[in-house]
């Protein structure tokens, strides 16, 4: 559904990264983790911008975003009371598996995993990778809903030095997870999928692609997938953004 919603809060999470919250009861009720919203960022930009749903509390829906270009710059100058046109919730999100799950997020990819952590049925562990301490977002939020949280930074300024891969390999040896849910840059997703698959653990990855309609009609947002030996161009906006890692052609 598409409607106009009011901004209730916007706060910086890191330099150039904001969490924006909307009073959006209809969206909040319908949203499931891994889905996204499609936001009209002003009249002069015809294409809506897709953002994963970071959190839902009561009637409030939060999106965490980084200023990347014109549209996100428009969104960043929002103040409480601004009315914003949002279409959503859209797409196919994470399954909600039974048992303990592991979340692996890279950069802004951590955002949609927070919502997944909140709705999880079993215990939740999280590994979050960032460039450096200054970019590490949502740590308290993850701490409050996860059993354990491991942070890795490329420069070692916070948590472990390096990528999410070493802690992931370590954790896969010591714990048994029913699923790994991951969101972040493509190379990270590839590594997480490889490690999970070779450990025999189901892995769900959230992909990004440039979008037009956002609803599945225009076929611009595709990624190559394969199931039962049939190759398809699947729509990230509708068949995804979350896919079973075994289906996505790397």
């Amino acid at each position: 559904m598409r409607s106009i919603f009011t901004v209730t809060d916007i706060r910086p999470l890191a330099s150039g990264v904001f969490a924006i919250t909307f009073d959006a009861p209809e969206l909040a009720r319908a949203a499931t983790p891994g889905q996204f919203v499609h936001i009209k960022c002003g009249h002069s930009r015809p294409l809506r911008r897709p953002f994963g749903i970071c959190d839902v509390r009561g009637d409030m829906l939060t999106v965490a975003f980084e200023v990347r270009g014109d549209g996100t710059r428009w969104l960043a100058v929002s103040e409480p009371g601004r009315r914003v046109d949002i279409n959503g919730p859209l797409g196919h999100g994470f399954s909600n598996p039974d048992g303990d799950i592991l979340l692996v997020g890279g950069g802004l990819g951590a955002a949609p995993l927070l919502f997944a952590a909140r709705r999880a049925r079993g215990r939740v562990s999280a590994i979050l990778g960032f460039r450096s301490d200054a970019n590490a977002i949502l740590r308290e939020e993850f701490d409050s809903v996860c059993e354990d949280v491991f942070v890795a930074t490329e420069d070692g300024s916070s948590g472990l030095r390096g990528t999410v891969v070493p802690p992931l390999e370590e954790l896969m040896k010591t714990k048994r997870f029913s699923a790994v849910l991951a969101c972040g840059p493509r190379p990270m997703l590839r590594a997480v999928a490889d490690i999970s698959e070779s450990a025999g653990v189901k892995c769900e990855i959230s992909l990004e692609e440039r979008m037009g309609c956002g609803v599945g009609a225009c076929l611009v947002c595709v990624c190559e997938t394969q199931s039962d030996d049939v190759t398809k161009m699947s729509r990230v906006c509708r068949d995804g953004p979350v896919f079973d890692s075994r289906e996505v052609v790397r």
């Binding site: 294409l47 309609c213 609803v215 599945g216 009609a217 225009c218 190759t231």
Partner: protein, 304 residues
């Protein structure tokens, strides 16, 4: 009295003049979650080919000032899967179904047209103007002789009205319109997208994986209006006019320029219900100006 928005176009009755443009609306399934498709005059399907096609690699879209480029490359499930799975769904609505087809030879176009008209579509839209495929598509649309040949073959085998979709990527669009008309086309639709390009200055690479793509959206409206108007002077068959129509007022301009129906494409990406607000905007204009039928508007621009 409120305006009668019905339009008889190439012998087919449309409940209103607004048609979803090919490739922007899939087969209607997704947008049917936003409104009842019976509210639309008609739907042009995604461009169909004989065999299924996977299309071009992503990224397939780039935003441009008040517009966008696409390079989908005719991803579609193929004619047979369309007939088996999509057409029955579309037939559930009181809206006209126009099958958009793209072939690699005149014979292929003709075979598809026959199969689809037997399967029960209301019209065939012959896409000789797709800028995003290597074989077929635009290669036919930029030569009057090729447009004529494809039209002739399709006209011979189709049992429903045939509309030829023209490309704006030509020196003189009226030459193509005349070629289609002379071989028996029942209507023309225009414009398809304008070939364009964007470059990412950080990577120095084109934004689209296909390097170039087709420009659509509000930015192209003036070009579309000029071409509709020129085509109106050149042929007697009716025109489905499209290209950048975003508001009811834009649609009225297209009708005044010479269109009998209007197509809505990219506007739906900004607002899923765009086609309906455009339809309502046309009706409002007609009521305010005491215009009894859409055909009174068609081509009624008063030149300076």
């Amino acid at each position: 009295m409120s305006a009668d928005t019905r339009v008889v176009f190439a012998g087919v009755t449309f409940n209103n003049p607004v048609v979803a443009a090919s490739g922007t609306f899939g087969f209607g399934r997704e947008y049917s979650e936003y409104y009842d498709l019976s509210e639309l005059g008609g739907i042009c399907t995604k461009g169909l080919t004989l065999a299924p096609r996977l299309g071009n690699p992503p990224p397939r879209i780039a935003e441009t000032p008040m517009g966008m480029l696409n390079s989908v490359g005719l991803q579609n499930p193929g004619v047979e899967e369309f007939i088996r799975y999509e057409l029955p769904f579309m037939r559930r609505f009181d809206t006209r179904v126009i099958a958009n087809i793209a072939g690699e030879s005149a014979a292929e176009y003709a075979a598809m047209a026959e199969r689809l008209s037997d399967a029960g579509v209301d019209m065939i839209e012959v896409n000789v103007s797709c800028p995003n495929v290597k074989n077929g598509g635009l290669q036919f649309g930029v030569s009057a002789a090729a447009v004529a040949e494809v039209t002739r073959e399709v006209r011979r085998r189709a049992n429903v009205p045939v509309m030829v979709k023209l490309s704006p990527n030509v020196t003189d669009i009226t030459e193509m319109a005349r070629a289609a008309e002379s071989e028996g086309a029942d209507a023309v639709s225009l414009i398809n997208t304008l070939l364009g390009m964007r470059i990412d200055i950080k990577t120095r690479r084109p934004v689209l994986a296909n390097n170039t793509g087709g420009l659509s959206g509000a930015a192209v409206l003036p070009v579309a209006l000029r071409m509709i108007w020129q085509t109106r002077q050149a042929v007697r068959i009716p025109i489905l006019g499209m290209g950048g129509i975003t508001t009811g007022a834009d649609a009225v301009e297209a009708l005044l320029a010479g269109a009998s129906l209007v197509g809505v494409g990219t506007a739906s990406f900004s607002y899923p219900e765009a086609a309906l607000s455009i339809r309502d905007g046309i009706a409002e204009y007609m009521n305010q100006n005491k215009i009894g039928s859409v055909s009174e508007l068609t081509g009624s621009v008063i030149l300076n």
